[in-house]
């Protein structure tokens, strides 16, 4: 399904976000990527989602080498990948129904997509996807009427509606309360199980990673620290993954942080059982 070999990525500003990462994911597999802020989790997901091209290394998705495909086939391949973004990229004036239906823009002909903007075509489908996340009653609301957590669920509903073969989720529940975070991950997992899709999610909440995912990949400083079945992940490994770069490191500022741009940022003190 997904085959990354020797992936390195150096940002235009010279920062190395990933350094020789190997990752293979089979169809139907469920994998959580964990690691401190700035470890390269988002960059890894964006490379898997074909939105970033690695500086070095081979990317294969569904048996194809995407960066060697002609534009039309690359587009068709992208339509089969669903990405849940950490900050849902939804324009404030877009209605929820259109935001969800946008999941199938890669499959619909353009005339249908544009017609649906004026009069939503598959209202039942959009409502069903929202209902799974307890959001059905917000179908015709505008996105700027929603809270951060609700927006995040709209972003997930879009991917549920898209029904892709590979689901990538970047911190999909970071804005949700513990109960809805759990319920939302359950729906993502259920979607993957029902459609046989592979699910790769980056998570900060370790308890959620350990509860819903079979395989845990620890990333630190742009490298894979471990890649193990859930049962083999030990507390000591997690401590090491999140340990500060040096004992004297000042606590990292608690502002907004962007993954993958600060690969060497000092890690925060471990907080293993966040929830």
């Amino acid at each position: 399904m997904l085959d990354l070999r020797g992936i390195s990525l150096i940002h235009p500003n010279g920062q190395q976000a990933l350094d020789g990462v190997d990752l293979r994911v089979a169809a139907g597999e469920r994998l959580a990527v964990i690691g401190p802020s700035g470890a390269g989790k988002t960059t890894l997901l964006r490379i898997a989602g074909l939105s970033l091209r690695p500086t070095q290394g081979d990317v294969q998705v569904m048996g194809e080498a995407p960066w060697r495909l002609p534009a039309r086939r690359l587009r068709a391949l992208r339509a089969r990948i669903g990405m849940v973004h950490q900050a849902p990229p939804l324009p404030p004036r877009l209605r929820v129904v259109s935001a969800v239906l946008a999941g199938r823009l890669g499959q619909w002909p353009t005339w249908r997509a544009l017609a649906s903007l004026l009069h939503p075509v598959d209202r039942i489908g959009a409502q069903a996807a929202l209902a799974r996340l307890d959001m059905a009653e917000r179908l015709f609301d505008r996105c700027d009427r929603l809270s951060g957590g609700q927006l995040q669920r709209v972003g997930i509903a879009r991917v549920l509606y898209q029904a892709p073969a590979l689901i990538l989720a970047d911190e999909p529940v970071s804005a949700l309360d513990p109960a809805s975070a759990d319920a939302t991950l359950r729906e993502l997992v259920a979607q993957a199980e029902r459609s046989g899709a592979a699910l790769v999610a980056s998570l900060h909440a370790l308890d959620l990673a350990l509860r819903w995912f079979d395989r845990i990949v620890g990333v630190r400083g742009g490298r894979v620290a471990f890649d193990l079945p859930r049962a083999q992940v030990s507390e000591a490994m997690l401590q090491r993954l999140y340990a500060g770069d040096s004992a004297a490191a000042a606590p990292a500022p608690t502002g907004a942080e962007e993954e993958g741009t600060a690969a060497t940022a000092p890690a925060r003190a471990p907080q293993l059982m966040c929830r």
Binding site: L74, R75, A76, M83, A87, P91, L105, L114
Partner: protein, 273 residues
């Protein structure tokens, strides 16, 4: 004590400021801009005499009839010209704007050709708007004869270039992440425009378009002077006959038209908010 960290942009900003001032001063000088001349008593008297001829505005029945006809002609010219300009501008803007570039994702295949195509379309837009509409009008009056048809075509060409450039820039200045996310999941450019960019940009696009319509109404005066019909041609005749009353009546119509454009713009912004 340590010095506060240096702002790496400080030097660039200071340079830009100094450069702007250094360029502005000779520009004012070369343009012979001398504000004192405005308040010189002789020039005040000359201007006052000129303006005195403007009152009262001409309101006789025959002239009002002519005025109404010219107004309708001007509105038709501006609207038809802008509609053609829109048709010309939209495809070019969609090619030029980087907000809808698929090849920039990754970056992916075909980035070189795509960049060339964008540069080419940008050049077309520049060429279209480089020539003032009045020059095109002079040219087309020779082809179509006197009348608004020449004005329509002149507006279409120049305004097509302006609309295309500004549309492309408006689309780049709103949050482009939604459209990019859609392109990244295989959406077509037009669909990404509709779902990702238009919800954020529609207001700006509409108000710029209405503003350009207002400009087209004004531009039609200048083109009227070269024979492209409408209020401009009427104004030309009135000025040549030194009939200030008629000229001021025409100016009042202009004021009303600009107010109308303002109203339409406000209404559209409200609808699209």
């Amino acid at each position: 004590m340590t010095a506060p960290p240096r702002d790496p942009q400080a030097r660039g900003r200071l340079t830009a400021l100094v450069l702007a001032l250094a360029l502005l001063w000779p520009a004012l000088h070369i343009a012979q801009f001398n504000p004192a001349a405005l308040f010189d008593t002789t020039s005040l008297r000359v201007m006052g005499g000129f303006l005195a001829g403007f009152v009262p505005p001409a309101l006789d029945r025959a002239f009002l009839h002519l005025l109404a006809q010219a107004t309708i002609e001007t509105l038709a010219m501006a609207t038809a010209g802008l509609a053609l300009a829109f048709v010309l501008a939209v495809p070019l803007a969609l090619v030029v704007t980087r907000a809808l570039s698929v090849s920039r994702i990754g970056p992916g295949p075909g980035r070189g050709p795509a960049a060339l195509l964008r540069a080419g379309a940008r050049l077309v837009l520049t060429v279209l708007r480089a020539c003032p509409e009045v020059v095109w009008a002079l040219l087309f009056v020779r082809a179509f004869g006197l009348g608004p048809a020449a004005g329509v075509l002149a507006l279409a060409i120049t305004y097509g270039g302006m609309l295309g450039k500004v549309y492309a820039e408006i689309l780049e200045s709103v949050d482009t992440r939604p459209a990019r996310a859609l392109l990244e999941s295989g959406s077509s450019r037009l669909a990404a425009l509709g779902y990702g960019l238009l919800p954020a940009a529609a207001q700006e696009l509409a108000s710029y378009t209405v503003y350009r319509w207002e400009c087209a109404v004004r531009a039609s005066v200048v083109m009227g002077f070269v024979g492209a019909g409408g209020l401009g041609q009427l104004m030309d005749q009135s000025m040549k006959m030194l009939n200030g009353g008629e000229a001021s009546a025409i100016l009042i119509v202009f004021l009303l038209l600009v107010l109308l454009a303002d109203g339409i713009s406000a209404l559209l912004r409200k609808v699209l908010a």
